[in-house]
Symmetry: C2
Subunit: 214 residues, 2 copies
């Protein structure tokens, strides 16, 4: 299985969360199977792209039957690692940190918020969705005692770089970086950045130039 997964191209992997979302919506609607043509209309990609992408995951599509929605959904979940639990720590209990902590769907997909930290001593002891906000000073002790899979950084960029360095040294392997900066961590550490201002700039570019970037 691992061997097969390794052959899947990054471009396909990048599209998987979107397949996963659409298949989840189809399950909610009670749809049990779907043809690549129907999925194509729904997802606004070509049917041949869909067939090519999904062929990577073996024989789930059958001539004249289409795809079994639930099986495909579960298979993609497995490839994305959503069949396992991942512990998440949020650094920064501001609006963005709160928004993430309050997003119940993350937990449904196995992302469990284990701790929330903030530099503001006034927030210490308050709770978000029942999770206590701790002082940022406690993060290193916390990291030594808890297995943290993912650290979400929703703090200003100067702090983010420093905190990420410290936590990477303690063995944290993945950062979900909302700070508008690059992180200075070893190459084997995963950094997935969500740069909101860059996203906004893409909109203004498209507004000025009337073109899509896709």
């Amino acid at each position: 299985m691992a061997e097969k997964e390794n052959k899947i191209s990054n471009a396909v992997i990048k599209r998987l969360p979107r397949y996963y979302r659409h298949l989840g919506e189809l399950i909610e609607m009670g749809v049990e199977r779907i043809s690549s043509n129907e999925l194509s209309v729904r997802m606004k990609v070509t049917a041949s792209q869909i067939r090519q992408d999904l062929n990577n995951f073996g024989g789930f599509g059958q001539q004249g039957y289409g795809y079994n929605v639930k099986i495909l959904y579960m298979e993609i979940a497995k490839i994305l690692g959503l069949d396992k639990k991942h512990s998440v720590v949020i650094i920064g209990a501001g609006n963005l940190g709160r928004a993430i902590a309050n997003y119940a769907n993350f937990e449904k997909r196995g992302f469990i918020i284990e701790g929330i930290f903030d530099i503001n001593p006034k927030l210490k002891g308050s709770t978000i969705r029942g999770i206590e906000v701790r002082n940022l000073e406690e993060i290193e002790d916390f990291a030594k005692e808890h297995a943290i899979d993912i650290v979400a950084l929703t703090i200003p960029k100067t702090q983010a770089v420093d905190v990420a360095e410290r936590l990477a040294r303690l063995g944290v392997k993945a950062f979900w970086n909302f700070a508008h900066t690059d992180l200075n961590v070893p190459e084997d550490v995963i950094v997935e950045s969500v740069h909101l201002s860059e996203s906004l700039m893409r909109i203004s570019y498209m507004l000025e130039n009337g073109s899509s970037m896709d």
Copy 2:
């Protein structure tokens, strides 16, 4: 000028916000010029990639001198449309909407929050950074009276689809979509989606497979 811009590939355009960010940081540090090699170390891309990318914008790099940081920064700002003001309306005054409204840097780059709307009547009349929260019912009247460039949707997906359709009909040309769904708007309407759960899934994929997606 417009003609020249149109020749720039989407791949280059996608990288521009990142150049813009790094050049801004260099200006803050008082750096006046930089070679492609120095910029390469800083941005962790090859120097030849940088030279290729920046060649698109004319002769800002000079042999033995490098790039004039400020001129390049301003040129990129212009290409990204950051030399103009864009009016932004936020639909959804929850944590995510508040996070966006509170991000002062957006305003510095010309993105002016003109209004915030929410479906919750309890929020009506409250303010975020001095901006009154209005009831979502008022959005259509508001859209008729104000030129809205960008609508940020930080509401649940069922509402987002409906609101986007209504606003697109009123002439809104760009949506910054945080709802975890596709929007059903005409093709010439810009949709820039920030799907946080898809971003999180990419992390879990990389954790399981130990590879980067870049």
